[in-house]
């Protein structure tokens, strides 16, 4: 048993009669090295540890009240205080019919490799050397690069342990390593544009020091300068990063808690056709390639693939224990916490679309002419999971003759997520998982309204 699990199970002794208690303990080591202009800018080494406690007080019947508390240390006296605070918070909360923490549901966790020993085993000096090498290659890489604001090595080793009075014992351990670079490319007439790219892997050995500079410069150069695009409906191809932003908003609308709280455009639509027939959307945290994969969710239930849209039909939402109970169904093991200081919420963990096309090149060739969208500006404020409407500014380029052409900027896209899902014509198999809970892959969508602008 890990030392964290010992801490978590020991703390369960503080539970009182009539209470369900959940103890979540986590620890994370991180190293971050930033290089600039051939030298080291900063080296950060960090250890953080903490505990989050949920107490559900039962008042005899099926109802319960929930309280939560957390602290960023795990000494026995601290945990005792935190359990007391959580209990006091529960005492003041209003009863909820479906309150509760998870119970074992008999599904066994998948065997996944999410830990690489070389993250902890590589000396800091070697990590510093990697950051310096990345920065050097970025500066030497391409004549159009006018500056490298920074190049960075980052890694993390995180472990969690979760124990409950309902019999859950689950532990996770995961590592990640990344090399990121941002470059500024200069074009004719003093026009500049920045581009960034990251290589991510489970361990240090999996990192690619050449790919990020090349990708960053390609992205910057592709949109240097740029003019308008004719207003009206167009076939739009979304860059893999943009697809991730859009599908992340779709994933937000598939959250069980959003559905219950009338904050989702997909509420009440199970079994209905909501997307093109070719669309299969799955959240599969047992795919060890996905950055968000892991044997269990953050309530300790074994991860399982969840089919959300099958052949265009809405087949499921993602649930944690509470949202599942509220909707009279089972948890999909989709509980996610924002560290020890957050309570679990249902969220997608490894969302991807089933590919229908071989590559981005094949998609572009099929589309022939249209608009390639490399990045969205204003996506954070501009896409609503509540009604699906979005209106965002974009940067990208024209697609002509089946390949990428002149840069486009200063135009907007206005549509609706539901409309996008209905109009998807192709999904690329260029799946990558640089970070986060959503796959990066190219998609092509018919007939999105482009709010054009005159070339300046």
């Amino acid at each position: 048993m890990s030392d964290l699990m010992t801490v978590a199970t020991d703390a369960l002794r503080l539970a009182r009669h009539g209470e369900e208690v959940e103890i979540f303990v986590s620890r994370r080591y991180q190293t971050r090295v930033r290089a600039r202009q051939g030298t080291i800018d900063s080296v950060i080494s960090a250890e953080s540890i903490g505990v989050g406690v949920r107490v559900v007080a039962r008042n005899g019947g099926g109802e319960g009240t929930v309280g939560f508390a957390w602290a960023d240390s795990i000494g026995p006296d601290v945990i005792e205080t935190v359990v007391g605070e959580a209990r006091e918070n529960a005492r003041f909360s209003m009863p909820e019919p479906c309150a509760g923490i998870a119970s074992p549901d008999g599904v066994s966790p998948a065997e996944l490799v999410t830990w690489q020993g070389d993250v902890g085993g590589t000396p800091v000096a070697a990590k510093i050397a990697l950051a310096l090498e990345l920065e050097r290659r970025a500066r030497a890489g391409d004549q159009r690069i006018s500056a490298v604001p920074y190049a960075e090595y980052h890694d993390s080793q995180s472990e969690t342990a979760l124990a409950t009075t309902t019999g859950i014992r689950s532990a996770t351990a995961r590592t990640s390593a990344a090399l990121s670079v941002t470059i500024v490319a200069a074009g004719s007439g003093g026009v500049t544009h920045s581009g960034s790219a990251t290589s991510t892997a489970r361990g240090v050995a999996g990192l690619d020091v050449d790919a990020p500079p090349a990708e960053a410069v390609a992205r910057a150069v592709r949109v240097l300068g740029g003019g308008g695009f004719p207003a009206g409906p167009a076939i739009v191809v979304f860059d893999p990063r943009v697809t991730a932003t859009i599908m992340s908003a779709v994933g937000g609308a598939l959250r069980g808690d959003a559905v219950i709280r009338t904050r989702s455009m997909f509420a009440g639509r199970l079994g209905e056709k909501i997307a093109a027939a070719a669309i299969d959307l799955t959240d599969d945290p047992t795919d060890s390639l996905a950055s968000g994969s892991g044997p269990c969710d953050d309530e300790g239930l074994a991860s399982r693939p969840v089919s959300l849209i099958a052949a265009g039909v809405l087949s499921s939402y993602v649930h944690d224990t509470v949202s599942a109970r509220q909707m009279g169904t089972q948890s999909t093991a989709s509980a996610v916490r924002a560290g020890f200081s957050g309570t679990p919420v249902p969220k997608c963990r490894a969302l991807r679309l089933r590919p229908t096309a071989d590559s981005q090149a094949a998609i572009l060739a099929d589309v022939g002419s249209g608009l390639y969208v490399q990045s969205l500006l204003g996506a954070r404020s501009g896409i609503s999971s509540i009604n699906g409407d979005f209106s965002v500014a974009i940067e990208g380029c024209e697609i002509s003759g089946g390949s990428l052409g002149r840069p486009v900027r200063g135009v907007t896209l206005a549509s609706n997520l539901a409309e996008v899902l209905r109009q998807v014509r192709a999904v690329g198999d260029d799946i990558r998982w640089p970070a986060g809970a959503v796959a990066h892959q190219t998609i092509a969508v018919d007939g999105i309204y482009v709010g054009g602008s005159e070339p300046r």
């Binding site: 250890e47 605070e85 918070n89 909360s93 501009g382 209106s391 907007t412 309204y449 602008s453």
Partner: protein, 477 residues
């Protein structure tokens, strides 16, 4: 404010000596303790009562211009020395020039101790729940179209100590409170949301200052208005920003370019514009960490320097940048803290787990001579923005996109139809130069500002003002 010191000055000095034992020209220690609580009302039920505590320290060592940083939650004497040794490894990095450690000046109090500390921020659980439920009741009573109400409360109290090798030792105690009401309504235009938000540097007196019923009615009205809203037009329009609604735009699209670290890295459009006109005449833009109760206010910044007002743009001309303490790079022993003169009190950290950055406190445009009604009255066709939402900006160019959350059409000098949420596009320099009328009704709002992965609360504001020509990007129109 608890009476005992988080880190006594003598211990701080010892830890700083350990931090510099392998060499380096500067070291600092930042320790904090933070308590926070929150509560949420959703679907008619008060739940998610939470309490948290954070306690830890970060040590920074600068050697040959490179920064080593480490942090820990262990504030014991042993833990702090281990932390200082971890941060000092920067002085041993491959290829580094050997620098002699500077002598550590025993820290002295940087500012006279405060006579009266604020009370902790927390209200009792009973009071919080009562206010949440009252807001919910009032909002639901406004209209049968209300489909959902979300009310949230949060507070934090934070005690901190900053000490550095140049002899600074400072302490502070800071409190903050927030109360938000969001309403969702259902109607012909689908689901629409409206909100009211209060965030201030105040303690438990928050409930003497706000009328939660007013906020609830405001949020409900805001959402209901959108049920009758029309899609926004697209194109270039005259934009009138209501007082307090658009401060975030100037914060993001101009303020960040006036932060010294962005300027030094060449990531600012304003880098070479000092003493030149950058805004319309009459536009004065300041940063002021001393505004009572504003979200970005504090007595000292996170370097321990006193906060103050810094004029950035005066009558349209760029006159200054925001700065934090910049330690000497030549290893010379600072005497009398010469570099304090250079700080404008704009150093902030999200927590002890973060490196200090140059950040804004409360940034706003000063009032002008015009009348608000006139600004609208003189506008034949334009957009009136009552609330602006989140946005995105390219600091290097000042280009921005902001989402509107409450906007109306101006036709023949009158505010007419409400508009569905849309985007405002432009560039900070263009927006500043395009300001052609400023009213006298300055108001401030809260903003969450992200920089280098760190989030802090800021105040931002402006009086009602008019901008000639911003791009409005909406649906077809």
């Amino acid at each position: 404010m608890p009476q005992s010191q988080l880190i006594p000055p003598e211990l701080a000095a010892d830890v700083l000596k350990t931090a510099l034992h392998r060499g380096g020209e500067f070291a600092d220690l930042y320790a904090e303790e933070r308590w926070s609580t929150g509560a949420v009302l959703e679907a008619g039920t008060v739940g998610k009562l939470s309490s948290g505590q954070r306690r830890g320290a970060g040590v920074r060592v600068i050697s040959g211009g490179a920064t080593g940083f480490a942090y820990t939650a262990d504030l014991s004497e042993r833990g702090l020395h281990a932390l200082a040794r971890a941060a000092s490894a920067i002085a041993d990095r491959p290829g580094s020039a050997v620098t002699e450690p500077v002598p550590v000046t025993v820290p002295v109090l940087g500012a006279p101790p405060r006579q009266e500390w604020p009370e902790p921020a927390q209200s009792s659980r009973k009071v919080k729940i009562e206010r949440l439920r009252y807001a919910d009741d009032v909002a639901r009573g406004v209209s049968p179209a209300i489909a959902g109400v979300h009310v949230s409360y949060g507070d934090s109290s934070r005690r901190l100590t900053v000490a550095n090798s140049a002899g600074t030792y400072a302490e502070d105690f800071q409190v903050r409170n927030r109360f938000n009401v969001t309403c969702i309504v259902r109607g012909d235009t689908g689901l629409q949301t409206g909100y009211e938000r209060f965030v201030r540097t105040v303690g438990s007196e928050i409930f003497d200052q706000i009328d939660v019923a007013d906020m609830a009615r405001g949020a409900a009205r805001h959402a209901l208005t959108k049920l009758n809203a029309a899609p926004a037009p697209s194109g270039e329009y005259v934009v009138v920003l209501a007082a307090g609604s658009g401060g975030i735009l100037f914060h993001e699209a101009c303020g960040h370019g006036l932060e010294a670290d962005n300027v030094q890295r060449g990531q600012s459009v304003y880098a070479s514009k000092l003493d030149t006109p950058v805004a319309g005449p009459g536009v004065t833009f300041v940063d002021d960490g001393t505004v009572p109760q504003a979200c970005g206010s504090s007595r000292i910044d996170d370097d321990g320097a006193a906060t103050r007002r810094t004029t950035l743009i005066e009558d349209g001309r760029l006159v200054g940048f925001m700065r934090k303490l910049e330690p000497l790079r030549d290893g010379a022993v600072p005497t009398g803290n010469p570099r304090w003169q250079r700080s404008t009190g704009n150093c902030r950290r999200q927590s002890y787990q973060h490196l200090p950055l140059v950040r804004m406190t409360n940034t706003f445009i000063l009032p002008g001579p015009e009348d608000r009604a006139e600004l609208i009255g003189q506008t034949r066709r334009g957009i009136y923005i009552a609330k602006l939402g989140g946005g995105q900006v390219n600091v290097a160019t000042g280009e921005f996109v902001f989402g509107t959350t409450e906007a109306y059409l101006i036709e023949n000098g009158q505010v007419t139809r409400p508009l569905l949420d849309t985007n405002l596009l432009g560039s900070g320099p263009e927006a500043l130069s395009g300001i052609d009328a400023i009213a006298g009704d300055l108001d401030m709002a809260w903003g969450a500002c992200d920089k280098d992965g760190q989030r802090v609360s800021v105040g931002c504001g402006q009086p009602s003002l008019r901008i000639r020509g911003l791009t409005v990007g909406g649906h077809a129109g």
